[in-house]
Symmetry: C2
Subunit: 299 residues, 2 copies
């Protein structure tokens, strides 16, 4: 019954079978990643990385300035004013989002109180796009751009980030321009794709999502914590490039325009693994892993 | 910035606006459910309900015998032999599944050690089907049957339960018939639809999913807990019909073949709410809420 244990045994056996001259076992995700050339990985830019310190550890968020330059400039201004120090996670709604904000008045530096929504952007030559072949429920086309899940409407020449697990967005009120990045949320459940093009998404959690996804759910409406004592304190949020070098996350992301990513996509779509009895032959934009690893130490 | 608070205020204002004679506000999900006739709800059958007792509370699972009669008969035999008393949650993989099993030898009653896989079934006249209008990534057709999310392949005349959040399935080894219901898992993240037609799904969590989704993630491969002390003990699993009446869950599910469900589907698809600036106009099978409520007390 221990499917995990058995599969690990099978993976371990794979190499021996190949050495004995039998047909090579199909390449697993781990095989593909292990064989990837260094150039198929990119360092995650510390100037576009947020580090959130919780009592339980670090949550690291990669920002996507190609999609939300104004919101991200505003968030950086708030972060540099230490706006989020002493903020709190105020909402954890099961199968939906975790949300954090500050209460009371705090320094905002050069941040603006409202910014233009960045719900989508033009399909431009400045952004790469690796397309997925399968239909999507919500958009004419989906795929990946610079490490992020995206959707496109070629007829309208627009593209946007999609609400997959771990994506981070700008909470807002009813007015489209009412979010300025001072209240953010992360997706912790089934992708709420209905929010696509309704919110400015700014990035995704690349480390520590489990610190958010395991938080006790709020029992108030929409998963808000009912008592201030239930809120989870945020010690600080910093731009990684503002941290001393030794404290910066050293993360690399697999390039989504790389041959390794294309091989991984083919493997995840077809699952050439004896465990699978029915080949899925399809994959959704929010089901594709976007691998991140700690950068190898330089010699 | 408090989107939740503001939306609650707006909902509260809605009634006043209507009373003053203005155009009626669009019906929200809460409005639709509040106006539902009693006949649009069905009591969840205690003979097809599992009650799992954890130290933190109860997890209630509705079984779907229309889709997996053999697996469910076997699970009921195990449950009636008290097989799961003292079992444990052994795996919690972020954005994927929580899994439980028993260790050592325990009474299995009349349960079989292997059973025929029930990965899909014939499209038959014995099952209702409420179709979704939008494309699905993984299947030719999706919708709902007797309260469960399903997919269909009309050309092959097959249908199957889909791996949405909260769905419960039978863990197995590489052999298709190796799962007998003695190891079960629940989905706690993005729907792993690649598992559809590869596993026998047997039901879904209708109460207490947050007790599973918030468990600390296992740090071993595939999210297995590395130390026995990290496992979460299961006090017992019982069939609700075997519990004293006062201890049975009194739950009702919205009928997915009802007018109320169709109205809810239209609302969730179009989101006629001033917060939405871009109408999704689409909905996925794993994004549709399947409402469950405590049955009103009889007078």
């Amino acid at each position: 019954m221990d499917r995990g244990k058995l599969r690990r045994v099978m993976l371990a056996l794979g190499a021996a079978v190949v050495a004995a001259g039998a047909a090579p076992a199909p390449r697993s995700m781990n095989d593909i990643l292990a064989a990837s050339p260094l150039g198929d990985w990119r360092a995650i830019n510390p100037a576009n990385t947020l580090v959130m310190e919780l009592p339980t550890g670090r949550v690291v968020i990669e920002l996507a300035p190609t999609f939300a330059p104004n919101a991200i400039a505003n968030i950086k201004a708030l972060v540099r004013a230490h706006y989020f120090d002493g903020a709190a996670i105020v909402r954890a709604q099961d199968n939906y989002v975790v949300q954090w904000s500050q209460s009371g008045h705090h320094a905002v530096g050069t941040a603006k109180s409202t910014i233009t929504p960045e719900f989508d952007r033009a399909i431009g030559r400045d952004v790469d796009f690796t397309s997925l072949p399968d239909p999507d429920t919500y958009a004419p086309q989906t795929g990946f751009s610079n490490g992020f899940p995206v959707a496109r409407d070629p007829a309208a020449e627009r593209m946007w980030l999609t609400h997959c697990y771990g994506m981070v967005g700008v909470g807002r009120d009813v007015a489209a321009n009412s979010g300025n990045g001072s209240e953010l949320y992360a997706v912790i459940g089934q992708s709420p794709r209905n929010l696509d093009r309704n919110v400015t998404l700014v990035g995704r959690v690349v480390e520590g999502i489990e610190l958010l996804s395991t938080l006790p759910r709020g029992t108030g409406p929409l998963g808000f914590y009912e008592k201030p004592s239930q809120r989870v304190p945020i010690e600080s949020i910093r731009l990684a490039s503002d941290l001393p070098t030794a404290q910066r996350p050293r993360l690399e992301a697999l390039r989504t325009d790389s041959a390794t990513f294309r091989a991984l996509l083919a493997e995840r779509r077809t699952r050439p693994d004896p465990w699978y009895k029915h080949t899925p032959a399809h994959i959704g934009v929010c089901n594709m892993p976007l691998p991140v690893r700690t950068a190898p130490r330089k010699a």
